[in-house]
Symmetry: C2
DNA sequence: ACAATGTATGCATGTTTCCGAATATAGAAT
DNA sequence: ATTCTATATTCGGAAACATGCATACATTGT
């Protein structure tokens, strides 16, 4: 039995969370799942950069990806953790105006986002996949880890 | 007005917490305040090392120090954060046996701890300060920060 | 083959971690 | 007062790790 140090585990989890962009990503995904291109548009960061941060969150099982065609949709893995994080946000704000510190994200579709979901939603009609709604995408594999 | 990014603040807080030794320190201090020598004995780490980790926690106002003579007693600054952390521990354990992952700390006085509180308590009688219980020590000053 | 979307790799730069030594600080002894 | 001891903090540096970018690679669909 390998003596697992719980503090080490918790520290790893916290470290994965201790980054402003990753916190923003999680906050975006709480409301609904989103594709990488969507996150790229909202965060205004280069796509490889966003993908990298998603990989960090994935490695700690904080988010999970679902592939549909060429597009990968990410979502929160564990909403308990999300709720816990949201609680922590209030503690971090600590009396300040938290609605000013954590401005709400533009909801819904973005003109900047090239994914078909956003494009369709943005032009008025609701989304209808052109390749047929597959039942469920394959989970995105995690990087090999020691 | 400087545009304060709440995510940055929360990330800093999380980063200060994302270290196994610092998590252990906080967990120790939840039950009661403790002097640096006590923490040093429990954690079995060199004293400067413990002091350094305490400084990180101090800079984020997670703990506060109170000096009594040559001894500095540290305690949790914000028990809301402590409760939140404890909640996070359950999430990190996630189904595993959390009492095995976070073994309870030896309570009370330690033979290894040289501070008079521990020595007195350890030799049977309850603690009676030899220099008279001063009302309250001076708070330990934080490092100058930019 | 080609284009579109995501992921991984390599690297320069900066930060964290940990240690040993030096420094401060408080009290006691001479 | 001066020195001595005990406690705690800070400093300087080496190794490990994180960050952000540019580029290369992989996968899917046309």
């Amino acid at each position: 039995m390998t003596t697992v140090d719980g503090y080490e585990l918790q520290a790893r989890l916290l470290r994965a969370l201790s980054h402003p962009v990753r916190l923003r990503i999680l906050n975006l995904l709480v409301k609904r799942e989103a594709c990488v291109c969507h996150l790229t548009a909202v965060l205004r960061r280069p796509q490889p950069y966003v993908s990298q941060q998603l990989a960090v969150l994935r490695d700690e099982h904080l988010v999970a990806g679902r592939r549909e065609g060429t597009i990968v949709y990410y979502r929160i893995s564990d909403h308990h953790v999300a709720a816990w994080l949201s609680h922590g946000r209030q503690l971090a704000a600590d009396g300040e105006d938290s609605s000013a510190m954590f401005p709400p994200v533009p909801e819904g579709a973005l003109p900047d986002c090239p994914c078909p979901a956003c494009q369709a939603e943005h032009s008025g009609g609701h989304h209808q996949s052109q390749s047929g709604d597959a039942a469920a995408g394959q989970p995105v594999r995690a990087r090999d880890q020691s």
